[in-house]
């Protein structure tokens, strides 16, 4: 090899310019991707939910699409309902939670996200894997029902691989944190839970479990995912947002750490409250139920702490936007845990087990507390990630109010349907009559979810308008300002 004088190189001797990488590695590339995919899947879930609502009214509204090689895509009530649940949980909530984590983490640690390309590759892998899994749900000939996720084994493996890449980037990023940030601790619990659950789902799909064990695993899995991942990350996001939006310090560090510790410990025990079956020790289920009731304690700590942080700034809540949504999310958090606690009392649990009540509580938790919490983080994050500003205007009102109204209507309708269901069953009504009687309430619930879908559409339009027509502003690179700040949450 020879070395020459670079100053004497002729134009054609210049080394070629490096092409842009397949995987972007900008400071917020992964967070943008997660939020972008999350918004896309939320819109997809709205479309699938609309189809499910139509099928509920028109029972014969099912159709199939025949493809070559004997592949049939079936849009039945089962596949559509399953598609809605999966798109909402794996598509929207998981992406939004990871978006919140990858947006807030560098701003807390003061350092850019580590292994940024790895994180982006993980984000892409996760979403491609989920899209494949969603497609397989509509092809019953390929569905492996032994899996908790409902996806074929190979799709579970892809999801695990994607999540490993995402986790690697996250843990490398938080290792460099100078302070024990409370938000990061919530995120860490959520990340550990998510990878543990996805690995468990993959392992379960390999085992030849009987139907009852499969159902028990699924019930416990759903509760763990809801409490420790979706709601946990949302609470972490609220701890990040509220002090920044009010410009006031988090009221009490001790209360914040107490809330996290109590939530993590009680949340793990509460998982056993979902396994109500003769084969499970009675005392263990009772301990799970008691833990579910006692989860009110950390929720109280979280709400009180963030409410105290808002002291003197409550007028800010009246404006539409992230802070109004954060407070709305807190209200749903309190309501969902209170109702879940009531539903954990043995007599109530037995009465409402096979009714719409648990779904209503789930709607308060996931459509209310978690979704609105992530929308709040998204509303806060997009201008900072795109370095652009816009006024918001009527769209901000629409997003805030339709999200609030949608989650409230959906959850309340389902809980009301559950109570009616209990009454009708006590009167000896048969299943078909109960379904007919409750149809109007179910439609109200779907309308509520539709409103939430409108909020997601508004959120996506806001992000688009911001990117296309927003006014460029100078923003601090992720971590730069935070590095200088003596923060501890």
């Amino acid at each position: 090899m020879t070395s020459g004088n670079l100053k004497k190189l002729r134009p054609y001797d210049k080394p070629p310019k490096s092409n842009s990488s397949l995987f972007p590695s900008g400071p917020d590339a992964a967070a943008k991707g997660f939020f972008g995919f999350g918004a896309f899947w939320f819109l997809a879930a709205t479309g699938i939910g609309t189809l499910a609502a139509l099928q509920m009214v028109m029972s014969g509204f099912t159709f199939t699409i025949e493809l070559p090689f004997g592949i049939t895509i079936a849009f039945t009530a089962d596949t559509v309902a399953s598609g809605f649940r999966h798109t909402f949980a794996w598509g929207w909530l998981t992406n939004a939670a990871l978006g919140a984590i990858f947006f807030a983490t560098p701003r807390l640690t003061g350092h850019p996200i580590a292994m940024r390309r790895t994180a982006v590759l993980g984000m892409a892998t996760w979403n491609v894997g989920f899209a494949a899994g969603l497609a397989f749900l509509y092809m019953p000939q390929f569905v492996d029902s032994g899996s908790v996720t409902g996806f074929p084994f190979v799709v579970d493996l892809v999801l695990v691989f994607g999540l490993l890449l995402i986790s690697l980037s996250f843990w490398r990023s938080v290792v460099g944190a100078d302070h024990p940030f409370i938000s990061l601790a919530w995120f860490a619990v959520g990340m550990l839970t998510l990878i543990g659950l996805v690995v468990e789902a993959t392992v379960v799909s390999l085992l030849d479990l009987d139907a009852t064990t499969d159902l028990l695993a699924e019930e416990m899995w759903i509760r763990a995912w809801t409490l420790l991942f979706a709601m946990g990350v949302a609470i972490g996001g609220l701890h990040y947002l509220v002090p920044r939006l009010t410009g006031q310090p988090l009221a009490s560090g001790a209360l914040a750490w107490f809330g996290l510790t109590a939530w993590a410990v009680l949340g793990v025990v509460a998982i056993f409250g979902a396994a109500v079956h003769p084969s499970i020790p009675y005392a263990l289920v009772s301990a799970g139920n008691a833990a579910m009731i006692m989860l009110l304690l950390p929720v109280l700590a979280v709400i009180a702490n963030l409410a105290m942080t808002l002291r003197g700034r409550w007028a800010l809540v009246l404006s539409p936007g992230p802070l109004a949504m954060a407070v709305t999310s807190l209200v749903f958090l309190g309501g969902s845990v209170l109702l879940a606690g009531i539903g954990s009392l043995r007599d109530v649990q037995a009465a409402v087990a096979h009714t719409e009540w648990p779904i209503g509580v789930g709607a308060f938790a996931l459509a209310g507390a978690a979704s609105i919490g992530f929308l709040a983080v998204g509303e806060h994050a997009w201008p900072r990630m795109l370095h652009r500003s816009h006024s918001g205007g009527i769209l901000a009102y629409a997003v805030t109010w339709s999200a609030l109204a949608g989650a409230a209507v959906a959850g309340s309708a389902l809980i009301a349907a559950g109570l009616f269901h209990v009454g009708l069953a006590a009167d000896g009504a048969v299943a078909a009559d109960i379904s007919t009687s409750l149809l109007p309430i179910h439609m109200v619930a779907w309308a509520g979810l539709g409103l939430l879908g409108l909020a997601s559409a508004g959120h996506a339009v806001e992000a688009y308008l911001l990117a296309a027509h927003g006014r460029p502003v100078h923003t601090t690179a992720p971590g730069a300002a935070a590095a200088a700040a003596p923060v501890s949450h």
Binding site: L215, L255, M308, S344
Partner: protein, 157 residues
């Protein structure tokens, strides 16, 4: 304008009413647990019976669980009256599909078991028309599971 705002954690005193409500919640949980240490859990995990006749007195819920787990309803419809696949009502009178007529004649009692299992030589040459194989080593359903399902299906008129 949009950079992260430096914020600190405060050390505000926790209001007493929060401590009181928190203590009440803990007491409620402990009391709830102490009154529920012995007993037998009901089965609230398995889906309830679909309302179909249940001559065996206890197998319907198990059969419906297995049917839901195996994904039968995706092709045969939520009420098993047919969708992509044929209706499963009335199979006690014999198979309806043309490709299963010979199997029904040769094995009048257990043709549904053989068909669902799908691994035996009795069904080796039959066009499955998209019907998955559920039995065999590592299959989704055991022979007992299939028997439970078939017993239930034969009750559907």
């Amino acid at each position: 304008m949009t950079g992260p705002a430096p914020v600190e954690t405060g050390h505000e005193e926790i209001p007493r009413w929060i401590v009181a409500v928190g203590a009440a919640v803990v007491i409620l949980g402990v009391v709830s647990l102490s009154f529920n240490l012995e007993g037998t859990n009901p089965d609230l995990v398995s889906p309830p019976p679909s309302g179909a006749p249940n001559p065996s007195g206890g197998g319907t819920a198990d059969a419906m669980t297995l049917i839901e787990q195996a994904g039968c309803q995706a092709c045969h419809g939520a009420d098993l009256t047919g969708l992509v696949g044929p209706s499963l009502h009335g199979i006690s009178a014999g198979p309806k599909s043309e490709n299963l007529q010979q199997l029904g004649t040769d094995h009048p009692d257990d043709w549904p078991n053989l068909w669902i299992d799908g691994t035996g030589p009795e069904v080796a040459g039959i066009d499955r028309k998209g019907m998955p194989v559920f039995g065999g080593d590592g299959g989704q359903l055991s022979a007992d599971d299939i028997a439970t399902i078939v017993e239930y299906l034969k009750t559907l008129e």
